[in-house]
Symmetry: C2
Subunit: 312 residues, 2 copies
Amino acid sequence: MPQSLKGVFCPTLTPVDRDLEQNLGAFIGHCRRLLDEGCHGLAVYGTTSEANSFSVEERMAGLEALVEAGLPAARIIPGTGCCALTDSVRLTAHAVRLGCAGVLMLPPFYYKGVGDDGLFKGFAEVIERVGDDRLRVYLYHIPPVSSVPFSLALVERLVGAYPETVIGLKDSSGDWSYTDALLRALPGFGAFSGSEVFLLANLRAGGVGCITASANVNAPAIRRLYDHWSGADADAMQEDLSRRRQIIQASPLIPSLKRILAHHLGDEGWCNLRPPLMPLDAAQAARLIADLDGDGFAMSSSPASTPAVASA
Amino acid sequence: MPQSLKGVFCPTLTPVDRDLEQNLGAFIGHCRRLLDEGCHGLAVYGTTSEANSFSVEERMAGLEALVEAGLPAARIIPGTGCCALTDSVRLTAHAVRLGCAGVLMLPPFYYKGVGDDGLFKGFAEVIERVGDDRLRVYLYHIPPVSSVPFSLALVERLVGAYPETVIGLKDSSGDWSYTDALLRALPGFGAFSGSEVFLLANLRAGGVGCITASANVNAPAIRRLYDHWSGADADAMQEDLSRRRQIIQASPLIPSLKRILAHHLGDEGWCNLRPPLMPLDAAQAARLIADLDGDGFAMSSSPASTPAVASA
């Protein structure tokens, strides 16, 4: 069975201008900074990226822009799971063609309460239609948003049918017992936690790391715990990370992350979001920044290194 | 304010071949039959149509095929609400360009628990980007599937901002009190029930009819109640419709409807579905058909009038 990726991956925010178009220059700059700050790789076009708020064409254009700008496809795992089978096939084949390390696949998420047979068939169709030995699939388990969970039985069935292809999962359930059960059922499986809050537990249980939204603003500290998880300071580092995460997600997570970048880079354009997401209001924004300041938070990057997002 | 459409509308099933591609010939034949059977119009590419299992391009191609085949665009209201703003704009503008009577719009449905401000902005962006006075929007309220409801306050706000455009709503909540409250808050608003189970209550409360999945197989009887709702037999007709609906939805609704068509048209190809939906198993199918036979159900159409769906 191929080895899973390991490390700290960032589901990258997608900067948009005031007209709600992607700002590819700022996107490339943000992705470069994240790798510089210690991310092992980039999970572009995930939930934090507002992926589903962009068309298939927009998502392909964004990924191509990164690769053309010299970002290493071998460190990128784009989200490619859509409601429509044909969209998932198109995005997945495109990612493989560009040389991406893998794809992070949501299940088809419009219909709720569908059975494992239908979800299995959905993934099987994508894998077989793409039909490329290079394809590596990481399942994206995020029931609080998708409302379509992966049962453990379904994961085992997919791994059994496609052992060379289905090699990992991102667990964004917020329920540690899911990752724990997964690693007991499938030792060596590429289990990523969906939040750094579970990073230490994940690594101690034999998992491979985390793919976490907070890495957009706090990558160096998360990387530090990843590198030193077996050291004496690991519990204290985890406590710091978890406390900071609580501050960040006290207001809606994606708008909060964009607000933090806007503040620390001095670029209000970062606050733009596609509806239905909306920027924080002034009171939320002020409390967020004050609470982070109170926690001693400082981003490592300088504003000068980063192309601006047009906000006018 | 423009008048809403009225009557019995069918969210049409989408026939697919064994390779899961749309069968446009069978689609056209099915749509023709539904109008012949008394449907006032067709709500193509709704939930029953597996709309979100098809790409934007596939949905546009299907709609174009209907119009090119001579089906009247003035009696068609396609579903055009997607997760991605740009997809919703593209599908909505396309429907207006083809002369469709209106569009049935889901809210962006990936993110859950978003506020009314974000949903309002999502609809406002679509309406303003399409920028065409001919556009008529029917909101699609189906919280059991979309998990993103329209609050009454949001409906009132959209109607207040776009009174010439937002003129109706399909209520598929399964909760009659929602339609009732809507009609009290907005008398004259184009409130369709999402099931014929509420048709009589809808019309008595001043609603405009129903957009109901069952019309794919039971249109003449639903139309009969619509035409005679103020007559002495109305309650008995409603009771018959509701009993039959219970039989149909005792197994998963969309596979059941496809199974009924397959059985009555003698065309197994109708059973094909895109994953994650799956055909009924043999036991479910046998019980469904037996229960309908026991209820005296007979479809009005002859198999000969209908192009086949390839099942081989």
